[in-house]
Point group: C2
Chain length 209, copies 2
């Protein structure tokens, strides 16, 4: 398959979230116009995004909501369980370990790590916190698919390097720092402090209008 | 002041988070090389980023950590309290209302809204959930600086339109949809499901290597 742009994948996520909502409301068909409106795009773009993955919908009839939902879940890799480990049992790490949204989307958080001896061996929710020292051994033994990084900025790159070396291919980082990974490792970053500071910067430095 | 690129503001956030960490460790001076390493950039870029806001550091001596920390907090608008309201008292909204990271950075969550009569009037943490109907009145009366949107995708744009009309200038959205705002309103989006699906898409559709 040819390389799909990250922006396309983001729109597929938006379409899916909309489809899941209207499916819950009992809606059975939808149109590229409806999908476009919510995705902030055009119906031509919707058809193009979907055309990468096959032929969906019928001219004049639109899309079957259950069929397109199933197809998009499959395309986005949500048709299977993903084994997730979280590294860093601070506030964010502990909150994520209990985050229902993970389980609902097939993400099975099976392990939580910290390097603080005061935390190792204690429970966070139903998960016992393990020593970060065990990481390499565990990545191999437990075949984690995705690692979520919630360690302080200064510790993030060394942890990422160890995970990559151990063979992990997908990382979601909450650490407020730029990370580098080889080309064959996928990295996504969520940084709420950064988003908030983008807002407060803009509010503080508004030009006079 | 001239228009500062969003990427510059993001790097300022990274520098600040690094400075706060090393300040906690008792470090008193740092260099553009150190800041560059963590920000995934060059020391020339660090100097350029800071030069927009004044003259910092001394050639050969580097930056005073406390001085630069204070300056960056000021530049990023963290020197004051921000009045924040959250709209949508679902799981994410309720979790954010209790999120310590907000308070630590000067974000004062003073109100939480929901349109579900079963939730209105009940407490989430120490905050009583108010009816979304009160939004326009409250935005004016309580002078909220920032609204955090955690409603379902289909309800997000109407809520944003109401907030904008009521005079709000900064919005952080967790709704999995594209939102539009006028030029004089700042909007940032955090979408964890989208980041995760970016990873699972990549894991599912990997070219053979």
């Amino acid at each position: 398959m040819r390389r799909i742009a990250e922006s396309t994948v983001r729109r597929l996520s938006i379409y899916l979230s909309f489809l899941e909502e209207i499916q819950d409301d009992g809606v059975t068909t939808t149109s590229s116009d409806d999908l476009a409106r919510l995705g902030g795009t055009t119906s031509a773009q919707v058809r193009k995004d979907l055309s990468f993955f096959g032929s969906f919908g019928k001219r004049g009839l639109g899309y079957s909501v259950p069929e397109l939902t199933t197809a998009l879940r499959e395309i986005l890799g949500l048709g299977k369980k993903w084994r997730v480990c979280i590294i860093g049992a601070g506030k964010i790490g502990a909150a994520l370990a209990r985050y229902e949204g993970f389980r609902e989307r097939g993400f099975d958080v099976t392990a939580l790590y910290d390097s603080d001896p005061a935390k190792v061996g204690h429970r966070s929710g139903h998960i016992v916190i393990r020593d970060t020292k065990e990481l390499e051994k565990d990545v191999e033994a437990h075949r984690f698919d995705i690692a979520v990084i919630t360690v302080p900025a200064e510790n993030a790159q060394p942890i990422v390097d160890r995970l990559v070396k151990a063979g992990l291919k997908a990382i979601l980082s909450f650490a407020p720092t730029q990370l580098s990974v080889p080309d064959d490792v996928e990295l996504r970053t969520v940084n709420m402090a950064m988003e908030l500071e983008g807002l407060t910067f803009a509010l503080t430095n508004r030009p006079d209008r």
